[in-house]
């Protein structure tokens, strides 16, 4: 595909709701999701009977030994559609790593094709009891035989190596990472629903935290939580009759691995190479460029992802993101900055897999960001890493 997105500004987000973000709760995840879904439907000025499309991704992203139970520890669209008691015409789950942008794309396609009129997009994250990632396995068959026996296991070692390569190559260090983690936590502390509400992080506390996989510490990673976010989407025509200011989808871009590697071996070069194509498709499909964007909510499950996305999307030259951040380029208290973590991101909310990014874009563009409201016409959000993820441009001024 090249050129303007066929569904350019034809699909809109018309309502939302999210749960509080808590570390753990005895409440089954499905109950949190149902309550949040009903609130989002009401927010959009609709009734559950009108929701005829459901899309989501349900993966529980832990490397520990946790069994996924639908309605308890994960919530699929099938489960939600059935338990909400509506009249589903189309239900689809996204299978892949770029979960939120992938399932948002399913929602867009569902509406653009006419398979449904009102789509409920949700993401529900659970924090299982016990260790999240620790794994007691003593043998590895299949794909992981190529990585785990060397001690290379879970997402963090590879991301730490990507982070180190970035730092070594471009002169960043833990002082640089402190700039963005402190910014994320500053913004998260201002959100009443965040796990980190009223708990900002000082630079000194960040620097005092020992690395677990050098150069990254726990504070460079989002904390596992339970939380649910729901968005209601419909066509631009139907959106006109609904109470909230519509936020239109202008374009989208996705990236995929370029090289066959051992499991979870993500590399800096691959992220940047795949990111070039992703960014090209994103800007072509939206008819906009980085200079048109008022806020960029970039994914930050791991702190170095912020650098990678800022560079891939063209907000600063390659290798310069750590200086861009240091110099206030994303500081939410500077009106002309990108405010890239103004919604707290994952580090300032908890492990919500892109929900804070999409939520902040929606709130800013719909004029519903309250005290955090910044003048915003065009926004971009990104999810995962560029070689496995996606980015979406949204606007409140469809041309």
């Amino acid at each position: 595909m090249s050129g303007l997105f066929a569904a350019h500004n034809r699909i809109a987000v018309v309502g939302y709701a999210h749960s509080d973000v808590v570390r753990r709760t005895a409440e089954p995840l499905g109950i949190t999701a149902l309550r949040t879904a009903r609130a989002a439907i009401e927010d959009a000025g609709l009734t559950p009977e009108q929701i005829d499309g459901f899309t989501s991704s349900s993966l529980l992203p832990s490397s520990g030994e946790h069994e996924a139970q639908d309605g308890i520890s994960v919530v699929t669209s099938d489960w939600l559609a059935k338990h909400l008691g509506g009249h589903a015409h189309y239900v689809a789950g996204f299978q892949g790593i770029g979960q939120l942008t992938g399932s948002l794309s399913l929602a867009i396609s569902t509406l653009a094709s006419g398979a449904a009129d009102y789509v409920l997009l949700h993401r529900a994250l659970h924090n299982p009891a016990g260790k999240y990632n620790d794994n007691p396995m003593t043998e590895f068959a299949g794909d992981q035989q190529w990585s785990a026996p060397q001690g290379f296991f879970g997402a963090l070692p590879a991301i730490a190596m990507v982070c180190n390569e970035y730092c070594q190559r471009y002169g960043a260090d833990r002082e640089s990472l402190a700039d963005l983690v402190v910014e994320a936590r500053k913004n998260g502390a201002r959100l009443p629903w965040s796990y980190w509400h009223d708990k900002p992080l000082t630079r000194e506390a960040y620097l005092a935290e020992p690395p677990i996989n050098d150069p990254m510490s726990r504070l460079d990673c989002d904390i596992p939580v339970q939380g649910v976010g729901v968005f209601i989407l419909t066509t631009a025509e139907r959106a006109r009759d609904l109470p909230n200011k519509p936020v239109y989808i202008s374009g989208q871009g996705f990236g995929y691995p370029l090289h066959h590697r051992i499991p979870l071996h993500w590399t800096l070069d691959e992220m940047m190479e795949a990111g070039e194509g992703l960014a090209r498709r994103l800007w072509e499909s939206s008819g906009l460029g980085p200079g048109d964007i008022d806020t960029a909510q970039v994914y930050d499950a791991f702190s170095p992802f912020v650098y990678i996305w800022l560079e891939v999307l063209g907000f600063c030259p390659v290798g310069e993101a750590h200086r861009f951040v240091r110099d206030g380029g994303i500081d939410s208290d500077i009106p002309e900055s990108l405010g890239a973590l103004s919604g707290g991101g994952a580090i300032g909310n908890g492990r919500l897999h892109g929900l804070p990014q999409l939520l902040e874009c929606y709130l800013q563009l719909s004029g519903r960001a309250g005290e955090r409201q910044r003048p915003t016409t065009n926004a971009v959000m990104s999810y995962s890493a560029p070689h496995f993820g996606g980015a979406v441009v949204l606007t409140n001024d469809p041309v």
């Binding site: 490397s63 520990g64 990632n133 620790d134 794994n135 007691p136 396995m137 003593t138 043998e139 590895f140 068959a141 299949g142 794909d143 035989q145 190529w146 990585s147 785990a148 026996p149 060397q150 001690g151 290379f152 296991f153 879970g154 963090l156 070692p157 590879a158 730490a160 190596m161 990507v162 180190n164 390569e165 070594q168 190559r169 020992p210 690395p211 677990i212 996989n213 050098d214 150069p215 990254m216 090289h259 066959h260 590697r261 051992i262 071996h265 590399t267 800096l268």
Partner: protein, 138 residues
């Protein structure tokens, strides 16, 4: 000998692990295009042949350090921390990367581009896993 997790060789990997046990690094090579691949896949990632008939052939096992991390908390049991993992780009073919422990120890000073050579850690009487050791200029 160790409590570290062991690989379970299968029909796609048995020659690799058999060679490792002899402290020889053999990588799967596509019979159609001759390119090395790690790990083997059901097709060849280079030429997309659905019948790659991978053969396992010795490689130099030498390369350069692309990046590294010191693991101070391991998500897997059986590993003594800290240990150092290196991401190595092998000389044998562009884009072939391996991740292994640096047997020189967790405090080893490293720079991007440092030369390393494959080494092996014996985990049981018939299983050894690849690792790396500093090789100096070469």
């Amino acid at each position: 000998m160790t409590n570290r997790p062991l690989p379970v060789p299968d029909e796609t990997s048995a020659p690799y692990w058999a060679a490792c046990a002899e402290h020889v690094l053999k990588l799967p090579r596509c019979s159609s295009c001759g390119e090395f691949t790690l790990p083997p896949d059901v097709t060849c990632p280079h030429c997309q042949s659905p019948e790659p008939d991978f053969t396992f052939e010795p490689v130099s096992g030498r390369g350069k350090v692309r990046t590294w991390t010191v693991i101070r908390h391991s998500f897997l049991s059986g590993f003594e921390v800290p240990f150092l993992l290196v991401d190595v780009e092998l000389d044998d073919q562009p884009h072939i990367r391996m991740v292994g422990r640096l047997v020189d120890g967790p405090e080893t000073p490293l720079r991007i581009g440092d030369r390393v050579a494959v080494a092996f850690e014996d985990l049981s009487s018939d299983i050894a896993v690849p690792a790396f050791t500093l090789a100096g200029a070469s």
